[in-house]
C-alpha cells in the first residue's frame, strides 16, 4: 500500500502514528473523516505487524477502529450497505438467492462429474468431510476451473464428502472485516448447525478468508477446519509428477500465511508435484480487507505494481485463494490454484 501511494499513513510506522490521531478526532471533524477513510484503505494483510518492531497489534486495532468508525459515522460507509443487506437477507455477498449457491456450478459441472448433485448437502445426509465453498467460489464463473479440479480430485481420491450448497451461509468474514461481530455470529451459527447435522469430521475450504472464520471464529466442536492444501497434503504422501510446460510462480495469500500461518502445506504439495516455481514476494494482491469495495482504484494499483515488479507476464501464477485469483485475473495474468495442478497430475498418471 505504501509503495503504491507513497504516502506515510499507509506505512507501518505511519499507522502507529495514526493511533495518536485517534485521541484528537473527537474535536476535528475533517481529521475524523480522513482517519475513518484511512482505516478502510487497508487490505488487513498483516504485513505491518511483520515489518514493524513495535509489537503493536495493528490488525486488532484496525478491526476495532473499523467497527467504531461505522458506528460513529454510518453515512461515510453507505457503500457497504448493499453488502450488509445482502448478507442479512440472502446470506451471501452478491445478493443472489440463497438457493442459487449450488445452481451455477452444478449446471456447469454435473455432466463432467457424474453424481455431483448427490454431493450437495440436504437434511439427513452425512459425510466425513464437508466442503465449504464460500461466496466467491459458489457464484463466480471465474472460479469454475478451480471448483472443477477440487471436485474431480475429491472424486478421484474417493473422499467421503458433501458440499454445503444452499445450506451454506457466508462465513461472516466480510462483516468481521467491518468489525460487525454480531452480524458475523448470526451467519456462523447456521453453518455450525449444518456441519454438526452432517456429522462432519472436517470442513474443507479453498478460501483463506472463510478458513479464518471457520477455524478461529466458528467454535466448531469436534470438526477440524482445513484449507484444501492442508487436506490434500495430509492425504497424499506421494503424487504423480505434474507435467510442467510453463514457468510457474507461487503467490502466497496473505491470510493464508500471515494470519493462519499455513505455509508448509502448499509448498509441500508443490514439491510432491515436482514443479519448479519462483517464490513471489510475500505481499498482498490488493484484494483483501474489503479494499475492492472501499477503494477499487487503490486495489487495482496494488496488483498492477506487483505485476510490474515481479516480471510475471509470461508466467502462470499459482495461488490458493479465490480472492487472490480474482485480482490476478483482473490484471490479465495466467493463474491456477494448486488443486488444478494436483488434479492434472493425478489424472495424467504422471511418473
Amino acid at each position: 500500500m505504501f509503495d503504491v501511494t507513497g504516502e506515510e499513513q499507509y506505512s507501518p510506522r505511519g499507522k502507529i502514528y495514526l493511533l495518536q490521531v485517534m485521541d484528537q478526532i473527537e474535536e476535528d471533524k475533517e481529521l475524523a473523516k480522513d482517519f475513518r477513510r484511512t482505516l478502510f484503505q487497508c487490505t488487513l494483510c498483516g504485513k505491518c505487524d511483520e515489518t514493524c518492531e513495535s509489537g503493536v497489534d495493528l490488525l486488532m486495532i484496525w478491526h476495532q477502529q473499523r467497527a467504531k468508525a461505522i458506528d460513529t459515522a454510518p453515512e461515510d460507509f453507505a457503500y457497504l450497505d448493499p453488502l450488509k443487506e445482502a448478507l442479512a437477507n440472502v446470506k451471501n455477498i452478491y445478493g443472489l438467492a440463497a438457493e442459487d449457491r449450488a445452481i451455477y456450478w452444478l449446471d456447469e459441472l454435473e455432466d463432467e462429474i457424474p453424481g455431483l448433485e448427490d454431493r450437495v448437502y440436504e437434511k439427513g445426509k452425512t459425510a466425513d468431510n464437508m466442503v465449504f465453498l464460500g461466496c466467491l467460489m459458489s457464484f463466480r464463473g471465474s472460479q469454475m476451473d478451480v471448483l472443477k479440479s477440487l471436485f474431480q480430485t475429491l472424486e478421484k481420491l474417493e473422499v467421503d464428502y458433501l458440499v454445503m450448497g444452499s445450506e451454506e451461509n457466508c462465513c461472516g468474514h466480510p462483516l468481521y472485516l467491518t468489525g460487525n461481530e454480531t452480524g458475523a455470529e448470526e451467519l456462523r451459527e447456521h453453518n455450525k448447525k449444518v456441519m454438526k447435522d452432517a456429522q462432519a469430521k472436517n470442513v474443507i475450504t479453498c478460501c483463506p478468508g472463510c478458513l479464518i472464520q471457520l477455524r478461529n471464529h466458528h467454535n466448531l466442536e469436534g470438526i477440524e477446519a482445513l484449507h484444501h492444501t492442508e487436506f490434500f497434503d495430509r492425504l497424499l504422501e506421494t503424487i504423480p509428477k505434474y507435467d510442467q510446460k510453463e514457468p510457474l510462480a507461487y503467490h502466497d495469500p496473505c491470510e493464508l500465511h500471515r494470519i493462519l500461518e499455513i505455509t508448509k502445506e502448499p509448498r509441500s504439495l508443490l514439491d510432491k508435484l515436482g514443479v519448479e516455481y519462483k517464490e513471489m514476494e510475500l505481499s498482498c494482491c490488493g484484494g483483501g480487507g474489503l479494499l475492492r469495495m472501499s477503494d477499487p482504484n487503490l486495489s487495482d494499483k496494488i496488483i498492477e505494481l506487483r505485476k510490474a515488479r515481479e516480471g510475471i507476464q509470461n508466467t502462470t501464477v499459482l495461488t490458493a485463494c479465490p480472492s487472490c485469483r480474482e485480482q490476478l485475473l483482473s490484471t490479465n495474468l495466467n493463474t491456477k490454484d494448486i488443486v488444478e495442478l494436483l488434479f492434472d497430475a493425478l489424472e495424467g498418471g504422471g511418473e
Binding site: 504516502e7 506515510e8 510506522r13 505511519g14 502514528y17 509489537g55
Partner: protein
C-alpha cells in the same frame, strides 16, 4: 505525518497545518510558497528511518513536505560517474537501476529499502561500510535545494550557484558548500535533487571472520589494530553486550568482519575464527534483528543511539561502557544490548572526519517511566559522553551536542532566511519540546 524511528513519537497533530507530497520541484516550490504566505515553518520529510527526531518538526505550526513521491532517477552518466536522483529515491531503488549497468551507489544503511537519499544527505548517513565507502557526503557531487524564500540553490564542494546572484555571492562569501548541507537535518531548505557518485561494482573475494575478545579493552584494542592496519573492511559489526534472552550462541564482546581474502589481518589477544558465507549471512541477519527482539520480561527501548569511540578512546572502551551503564542504571534503565558498526567513519561539526566504533545502545524501560524522565537520561548520557571525550554520533544527536555545526547552520540561515525546522534552534537544544515528545 512525522513518523520516524526516533524516541520522539508524540506529536500534536493540530500544529500540522499541511502535508504535501510534491512530485516535482515546482510543486515543492508551491508548497513552500504557501507556508511562507501563512507564516508556517517547513519540515522536510523522507522515509522516516532517521533517529534524530528532526523530521518531526518539533511543536511548531508547520507544513510537512515529503519527498516520498519524488523518486525518479533522472539521469545516469557512466562516463561522469554520477546519477541525478530525486530525494525520495531509496538506495535500493537507485541501485536497482544501476545494477544492470554494473555500477553502484555505495551508501548502504541497514534501512536502505526505506531511507531516502535526501534523508541520507540531511543526516550525512551511511551504512556499516562507511569505513571503506564513507558517509553520504563522500558519495555526492552536488545538491539542489529550495530555500524558504523560494530560491533555488545548487550546492557543490566548491560553493553555491543560484539564479539569485546576490544570494549566491553572500553564501559563497560564507564559504557554504556540500559539507554544510550534509547533516543539516532539514534546517537549510528542501532538497529537490542530488547528484550521487556511482562506481563500478567491485568483485573482491572476501572471507568472513568472527573475532572474540576477552573483554572490552581487548576489543577496543582490536578495532584500533584493524584501523592501524588499514584493513579494507567490507562489512563490520561489533556486538559489545547482548541480553541472554537474545544473544543465542554468541558471547560478546565480538566483531563480525568481512574483508578481502588476500588481506592479512592480525589481531593480538583475540580468538579469530574464519566463518563460512552461510554463517556470515546468519550473523548479519542476527545483528539486524537484535533491535527487534525483546527480553522475556520487560520492554526494550532504543534510548540512545550512537556514540563514537575513536583514537585513544578505543582503549578505554571498557571504562566508557561502564560509565555510561552507570548513568543508565542511575536512571533505573537496565542495559540490554550494545552493538554497532566497526570500524566506522563519521564527521564532526567542524567537518573533520572521525574514525572508530559507532555503537548503539538499547535498554529495558521499567514500568511507569515517563517520556520526560527518559529524555533527562539522554541528556545525562550526552553530558557523560562529553566528559569522557566520546562523540555522541553526529548524524543522530548533533542537535544536542555539536555546537560547532549548530552555530554554522545558524550563520547560513541568517543569509538564506530561516523557518525550516526552526525548533532545533530553540533554547537549551529544544529540550522542552523534545522532552514532551518522548
Amino acid at each position: 505525518m512525522g513518523a520516524n524511528a526516533s524516541m520522539y513519537q508524540k506529536l500534536d497533530f493540530k500544529k500540522i497545518k499541511g502535508v504535501y507530497y510534491p512530485k516535482t520541484e515546482e510543486e515543492a516550490q508551491a508548497a513552500i510558497k504557501q507556508a511562507r504566505e501563512k507564516g508556517f515553518d517547513v519540515t522536510p520529510k523522507g522515509g522516516g528511518s532517521g533517529l534524530s527526531g528532526a523530521c518531526t518538526g518539533g511543536n511548531q505550526k508547520r507544513f510537512f513536505i515529503s519527498s516520498l513521491q519524488m523518486k525518479e532517477i533522472l539521469a545516469i552518466s557512466m562516463a561522469g560517474g554520477y546519477a541525478d536522483v530525486q530525494p525520495g529515491a531509496t538506495p535500493d531503488e537507485v541501485n536497482a537501476k544501476l545494477d544492470p549497468l554494473g555500477m553502484r551507489f555505495w551508501v548502504a544503511p541497514s534501512s536502505r529499502d526505506v531511507a531516502t537519499v535526501g534523508g541520507l544527505v540531511s543526516t550525512d548517513g551511511g551504512g556499516n561500510d562507511t569505513w571503506i565507502n564513507g558517509t553520504m557526503r563522500d558519495n555526492m557531487l552536488s545538491v539542489n535545494i529550495l530555500t524558504y524564500e523560494g530560491h533555488h540553490l545548487n550546492v557543490d564542494k566548491n560553493g553555491v550557484k543560484s539564479s539569485n546572484a546576490e544570494l549566491a555571492s553572500e553564501l559563497n562569501k560564507k564559504g557554504m558548500n556540500l559539507d554544510d548541507i550534509s547533516g543539516s537535518h532539514g534546517t537549510l531548505g528542501f532538497i529537490t535533487e542530488i547528484r550521487v557518485i556511482i562506481k563500478p561494482i567491485r568483485k573482491t573475494k572476501t572471507i568472513g571472520a568472527l573475532i572474540q575478545f576477552e573483554d572490552y579493552d581487548a576489543m577496543g584494542a582490536g578495532i584500533l589494530q584493524t584501523i592501524d592496519q588499514e584493513c579494507p573492511v567490507e562489512y563490520g559489526e561489533a556486538i559489545v553486550m547482548a541480553h541472554e534472552d537474545v544473544r543465542e550462541d554468541l558471547s560478546p564482546p565480538l566483531l563480525i568482519l568481512e574483508f578481502p581474502k588476500d588481506f592479512e589481518l592480525v589481531f593480538c589477544n583475540a580468538k579469530v575464527r574464519e566463518i563460512s558465507r552461510k554463517e556470515l549471512i546468519r550473523l548479519q541477519e542476527m545483528r539486524i534483528n537484535l533491535p527487534k527482539r525483546n527480553p522475556n520480561v520487560g520492554t526494550q527501548i532504543g534510548l540512545f543511539e550512537g556514540y563514537g569511540l575513536h583514537g585513544d578512546n578505543l582503549e578505554n572502551m571498557g571504562n566508557t561502557i561502564s560509565e555510561i551503564d552507570a548513568v543508565l542504571i542511575e536512571h533505573n534503565l537496565i542495559p540490554f544490548e550494545k552493538y554497532g558498526h566497526a570500524p566506522s567513519k563519521w564527521y564532526l561539526g567542524d567537518n573533520s572526519p572521525a574514525y572508530g566504533l559507532v555503537m548503539h545502545s538499547r535498554e529495558i524501560r521499567p514500568e511507569g517511566k515517563t517520556g520526560n524522565e527518559l529524555y533527562r537520561a539522554v541528556e545525562d548520557i550526552v553530558k557523560k559522553c562529553e566528559e569522557l571525550n566520546v562523540t555522541p554520533k553526529p548524524e543522530h544527536k548533533w542537535l544536542y551536542s555539536d555546537e560547532v555545526k549548530k552555530a554554522r547552520i545558524q550563520e547560513l540561515r541568517a543569509v538564506i532566511g530561516g523557518s525550516f525546522n526552526s525548533f532545533m534552534f530553540e533554547p537549551d537544544c529544544a529540550s522542552e519540546t523534545l522532552s514532551s515528545m518522548v
